[in-house]
Every structure is written in structure tokens, then in C-alpha cells.
Amino acid sequence: MDKVAVHPPVMDNPAGRAARGRHLQGFVLQSPAIMLLLLWSVVPLLMTLWYSLRNYNLVDPTQQGFAGINNYWYLLTDPDFMTSLENTAILVGGVLAISVGLGTLLAVLYNEAFAGRGIARVLVISPFFIMPTVAALLWKNLMLHPIYGVYSAMMRAVGLTPIDWLSRYPLATLVMIVAWEWLPFAVLILLTAIQSLDMEQKEAARMDGAGMVAQFINITLPHLSRAITVVIMIETIFLLTIFAEISVTTAGGPGVASTNLAFLIYSRALLQFDVGGASAGGVVAIVVANIVAAFLLRAVARNLET
């Protein structure tokens, strides 16, 4: 961990005492949040660790006792475990790519002046307010249903055979649905950031004869880098544990084509009320989350410090 620049060396002099006082105050002010989160993350974590080493099935009390690493063994040797990790990565990566990529372009677009801009902006960000279950039901039944869906009707209208999205391209379709929910968030954040871009800077660039593309690459993008990190960080937190959308649309299938880690834990353990197995899954997921956190958050933090 690199040092925080403003931190003065602690010495036994008035300044040092002042610094210690500041630390104490800082600690006191932070402690409610830290204690609460410690409690929230440590207590369930310890319980989860304990259960993950035991045979504990809610619906079968005859299974009892110490399980050793059995629960972990069954999860890690599950042929679908790697697939679920891949799917998790694709879901997170795909949605992030769409929301950051498309989000940046849309932010630039909605920053331009045009008639009814205020209303158009509100329409674009609206999907962010939709709860995940509703979004999934809406896309599955009203939009993409191969018989009743609006999209299918449109395809039939132009003489095409409707695509059965959720069984043919389950993961891509999920990425699409989730991106629909989260793209608006990216647009909102990036649009805000773009608005604070110095007009003079842009004007100067235009005077220098820079084209739209050059302006975008040389001025807009660097300016947005911090906002982009914010989007990536907040979205990653939510995308890693996506559950409702999968359970409503594909239930992880067909096969395991759209099963992510959270859903694998659900279908292998929770569905048969195997608390031991689910706990082992929880521990593995925490490890995965921390690996992601270590990589991502460090990069993000560096970007945010500047």
C-alpha cells in the first residue's frame, strides 16, 4: 500500500501529538462504519467458514458432523465450476464493455444540443430505475418471446424467422438485458463528467484544427477516465453477483450456458438446502471477489487519487 502524502511523521512534539489526536478523532469518526461492516462481514464469514467444513443439510438432519474439505472438493471438482467462472467473467466483462463503450458515445451524443434534449435524456436513463426481476420478466415475455414478443413480431414482419434468443444465445442475451439496466447508469455518470469539461479546451482544440475524432480521443477521453473508473467500480460490484436476472430468464441454462458463480452455488447447494456446500461456495466466491477486488480496486484507487 503506498503512503498517503499528507500523513506527517509521528514524533514526540506538539505537532506529533496533534497528529495523534487527529488520528484518534479520525478513528472515532470512522469506527461506527467500520465496526458495523466488520460485524456484517466477519460474523457471517466465520459462520460460513464453520458451516463449509461441516455436513449440514437443512432438509436432511441425519447428515451431520465434520466434513473436512469435502464440500470444497465437490465444488472445485464440479465440471461446471470453470464454466461458471468463465460465464461470470463474460457477464461482467460484456456488460462493462457495453456500458463504458456505448455509454461514452451516448454521453457525447446527449451532450450535443438538440430539440427536446432534457426529455430524451430522461428516457435514456429510465431503465436504471427498473428492478431486476421486472427487467428480466419484461425482456423475456414482452420483448424477446419467440411467439408473442415484440421483437419477434418485427422480425416476422420483415420476413425473417424470429430468433429464440434465450435458448440460442443465452449468455449474450443476458449480457444484453443486464446492459440495458446498467448502460443508463454509465450514461448518467459520464454525461455529468462531460458537462464539466472545459468548453475553452474544446474550442482551443477546434481552433488547432483537430477533427471530432481527434478531439474525442485527445481531450474528452482523458477527461472521462476518472468517471469511467467510477462506472467500472460500482458496476463490477453489482455484476459479480447477478442472480435475479438469471433465475427469471434462463435458470442458468440451457445446460450451464448461462450459469455464473452465484447461480452455480444456488443450483448445486441451496436448491437442495445443502448449507455446507453453499457455504463452501460462499467462501470460494469471497476468494474470487477478493482477487477481483485486489486487481480492480488498486487500479481504480490509483486513478481516483489523482
Binding site: L123, M143, W180, T192, R226, Y266, A293
Partner: protein
Amino acid sequence: MARTSTRLRHAAITVLAWGIALWMFFPILWMFLTGFKSEPDALSTPPHFLFHPTLSSYQDVFARENYWHFATNSVVISVMATLVALLVSIPAAYAMAFLPGPRTRMTLLWMLSTRMLPSVGVLVPIYLLARATGLLDSRTGLIVIYMLTNLPITVWMLYTFFREVPVAILEAGRMDGATRWQEVTQVLMPLALPGIASTGLLSLILCWNETFWSLNLTSSIAAPLTTFIASFSSPEGLFFAKLSAASTLAVAPIMVFGWVSQKQLVRGLTFGAVK
């Protein structure tokens, strides 16, 4: 010549921007419209864009479930969880921004990483804890959990807002003999208010839409709108109109609220995290 190309460009932008906006909003609009269809109309192929609107689906939904009970729970739980989260995270973010120690950044990262653990893995431990503390199916239980799950995000967002406040202003206040309390309430808060409001709005939206814990920890007394929807999804027989009406009812309050406060959200964000 140049004028024509500018006008062309303007027209292209207008068409593109509106096209995308309508495409993004279309599913919501369609859901809204379907709620006013009769069930046979909702299932017709190809779908009808013109139909005789009827309120029968809404009447059915209201006859089946006590919508206001769920909606009140959603409001109370989201608002309370957000308020408590702000109350806990403002001092923490203040300390991190103005009294940073050697472990501040590490603490922040750790907080955010607690948010990445999948709920399915810890359902049973949490359920047992909730049962032991009598918090099953209580608003307090959900408020506590929502507060905790949103805490990392609110602390972090407030931290970025507070960091934007020039230390010199705070120090000037201190020179005038202001206590720490006055410094926070009279100098910092007014400056950071837009940022605090944005943080609160975001937290409110996230609480409203949380699905896993609300479904698993509540049954009737404290059940919010996410549970309301679970009683309409995949019922026996496929009722698209009723489902759409119920969905519209579940998302309408937060959506209208979002539309109204959208300017505020943006204003706050400009101030801090993304500037």
C-alpha cells in the same frame, strides 16, 4: 454550404439521439401499454399497437394484493436504510477525507470488497442470525441489511465529494474558533449538500430494487414491492397484462421519483465523484 452541413449534422444528431432514447425506453413504454390491454389482446400475434384500453388488469391486481401495504414498506425501508447509511457514513467519509491515516485507503478498499460477496453463499447464516434476533419479516431487519450493503458505496461516494472541498475553507472556519461539530455542520455540509443528496438518491434506488434479501427475509408484514412482483411472476396461465400492470405499479414510484430528482442527481455528481 457550411450552414447546410451544420444543419445536416444537427438533424442527424436529433434523429439519432431521439432514436436511441426511444429504443431504450420502448420496453418500459410497452410494459405500460400492455398493462391496459385485455389478456387476449396482450397475447395476440402480431402484437397490437392500437387496442381498447381497459383497467381490468389493474382492478385484478388491486383485488388480489394489498398494493399500498407493499408500497409503504418499500418507501419506509428504502428511506430509513438510506438515512441511517448517510448518518453512519458521513462521519466516516469526513474522517477519511480530512483526517487520513496510514490505513485509510486500505480501509476504503476493504469496505468495497465486502460488497462483492454473493448473497446466496451466506443466506442460511444470515437467516439464522435474523431468526435469533427476531428480525425475520421485520422492516428493521431489512433496513439494517440494506444499510450495511450500501454502506461501502455511500462512504466511498461521500469520501470523493468531501475531498473536493478545499481544506483551506475548513481551516479558515477553524481559525474563527469553530469547533469540529460547527465545522462539519456549518461549513462542510452546505458545501457538500448536492453530493450528499446524490449519494442518498443512489442509495434509495438501490434499496428499492434489491431483490434477494427482501424475498428471503420477509413474508408479509415487512414485504416490499419486490415480493409483490414475485406473486405475479409465472402464475398458472400466462397473464401478460396482469404482469405488466403489477410491474408498472412496482416500478412507477421510484421511476417518477427518479425523473423528478434526476437534475439533482446530476448536479451532485458534477460536484464530486466524476468531475
